[in-house]
């Protein structure tokens, strides 16, 4: 949320809406389908509604009902709609029907079993980060989820939405990946399938979900002993911006403080989140000493394939990915050590 480009697009929207308002023949009662009549090639978004009135709205209360609705062509599911509504307002083609997933109990739930956490895909991130047990077990994932937008947006944003919007800069995705998170997907034939979070986004705005599928839950195995994660992102402002680089790290220590397992994932430096096996290998077996951290940082920088834009140049993003990898590894290591052998 909160990009200058968004504001620029919004300005274009306002111009479009203003022009439409000056055209009574277009926006008069009865034919108030502004979306059907683009003016001057600008997205013509009415202030009275986002688009035309043809669109249908459904709020199913079960997964099965939602699957049935999605069998209709050009039907889109949404959770918080914090990305969907700005995209529609920016002129992206509108679906014929919207399916609100928030009335399905299973999608708004945070559960913990002996083996795993199960997070409903549409659960507001504010509710997830308010869960003290979850935040203590996965501080990095909780931090990442809490960085999505303002407090207003936090009331709506969700792990499922953040993942399926498929922004390369989505904050929660590197943090989910280093925790080995999986998603349970409802399939069009009424079944479910489970895939790793890292296999869901396939490129900016694209996912591996087939038509008619949607994410029901995110599953994260309980963190092993002396294991902790951290997520750091770089933004040019203090708040309300999109990651120029985001780094998730999780480490597991043995009783002597040596790293026995490590996962490193980078956001906003490639079309999808990048795991960095070379950085993980550098950390494993180390005590997170300077030499190991330097190798891990260099490996993270080497794994970057970023875009060059006004928010961050290729050189800057590549350098910062290394810096944040080092810092996040140190924080994760400190947290893991503080758990001090306690079971979780």
């Amino acid at each position: 949320m909160g990009t200058l480009s968004r504001l620029a697009r919004r300005l274009a929207d306002l111009v479009g809406a203003h022009r439409a308002a000056l055209q009574p023949a277009v926006c008069g009662p009865g034919i108030a389908k502004l979306g059907a009549t683009p003016l001057d090639g600008l997205p013509s978004v009415g202030l009275a509604r986002l688009r035309g009135t043809h669109l249908k709205y459904f709020a199913p209360s079960t997964v099965e009902e939602a699957v049935g609705l999605l069998a209709q062509p050009n039907t889109k599911v949404f959770a918080g709609a914090t990305d969907v509504i700005p995209q529609i307002r920016a002129g992206r083609p509108e679906p014929d029907a919207l399916v609100d997933l928030k009335k399905i109990d299973r999608l708004i739930a945070v559960q913990c079993t002996d083996a795993k956490w199960i997070i409903g895909a549409a659960t507001p991130t504010a509710r997830l980060t308010a869960n003290a047990e979850f935040s203590a077990e996965f501080p990095g994932l909780a931090e990442a989820a809490g960085l999505i937008g303002s407090d207003q947006v936090q009331s709506r944003s969700s792990l499922g939405g953040n993942l399926c919007n498929a922004s390369p800069a989505a904050d929660s995705v590197p943090a989910m990946i280093v925790n080995g998170a999986r998603v349970v997907i409802a399939t069009a034939n009424g079944g479910t399938r489970s895939v790793a979070v890292q296999d869901v986004p396939t490129g900016p705005g694209r996912t591996s979900l087939a038509p008619g599928e949607f994410v029901v839950e995110i599953e994260v195995d309980r963190a092993p002993a002396r294991t902790a994660d951290a997520y750091l992102r770089m933004i040019p402002r203090t708040e309300m911006d999109i990651a120029v680089v985001g780094v998730g790290v999780r480490v597991t220590l043995d009783e002597s403080g040596k790293v026995t397992d490590a996962l490193v994932a980078l956001g906003a430096v490639a079309p999808t989140v990048v795991r960095v096996p070379a950085a993980e290998a550098a950390l494993i077996g180390s005590t997170l000493d300077d030499a190991a951290l330097a190798v891990a940082a260099a490996a993270a920088s080497a794994a970057c394939n970023p875009i060059d834009d006004k928010r961050g140049t290729i050189a800057y993003r590549t350098h910062v990915a290394g810096v944040l990898t080092r810092r996040a590894a140190v924080i994760a290591g400190q947290r893991a050590a503080e758990k001090n052998g306690a079971s979780r």
Binding site: A48, R49, L50, Y57, L98, Q152, V153, S155, R156, E239
Partner: protein
């Protein structure tokens, strides 16, 4: 196609309104219910001028499809005061001149109310983070932050 009927509670009153499937709650509040204290700044969840409490949680009403309001309880800036009796927060904004042009003020008041509901003794940093989703183009942030701190102190004093 026919419009959708929505029943909810707004500022303590049960209300019904008709909306289109993809109409925003912001526009229903303004155009159907006459609650023009809810402002449209950006329409994309960036500026917070349309902030409301939906079932007690802070939200941008521009980011909510109007039919989603079915069965909810909504508070807008119009519902903060008790009749002519302003809340301490509103009074502190008045006395501290914590506004310039005023278009962001309703959203700021709702967001700050939400903050004080959750945290009666916020630090300046916590206030600034809590209001990060509310943009003031007159850049009057210092007076806004001071007014919220003063209101928090007054509320703590009276409830002590």
């Amino acid at each position: 196609m026919s419009r959708i009927q929505v029943s909810c509670t707004v500022n303590g009153d049960p209300v019904d309104f008709l909306c289109d499937a993809d109409g925003s709650l912001l526009n229903s509040l303004r155009d159907e219910l006459g609650l023009t204290g809810v402002k449209e700044g950006c329409g994309t969840g960036d500026c917070g001028a349309c902030s409301i409490l939906l079932d007690g949680e802070l939200n941008c009403s521009c980011l909510i499809f109007a039919p989603e309001a079915e069965g909810t309880t909504i508070t807008t800036v119009e519902g903060l005061a008790n009749g002519d009796h302003l809340t301490p927060l509103q009074q502190c904004f008045l006395e501290g001149a914590a506004l310039q042009c005023g278009i962001c003020t309703p959203g700021v008041l709702v967001a700050a109310t939400s903050l004080l509901n959750h945290n009666p003794n916020p630090t300046e940093t916590e206030i600034r983070y809590a209001l990060a989703g509310n943009l003031c183009r007159c850049t009057g942030y210092d007076k806004i932050v001071r007014a919220v701190r003063e209101a928090a102190a007054q509320i703590r004093e009276t409830s002590a």
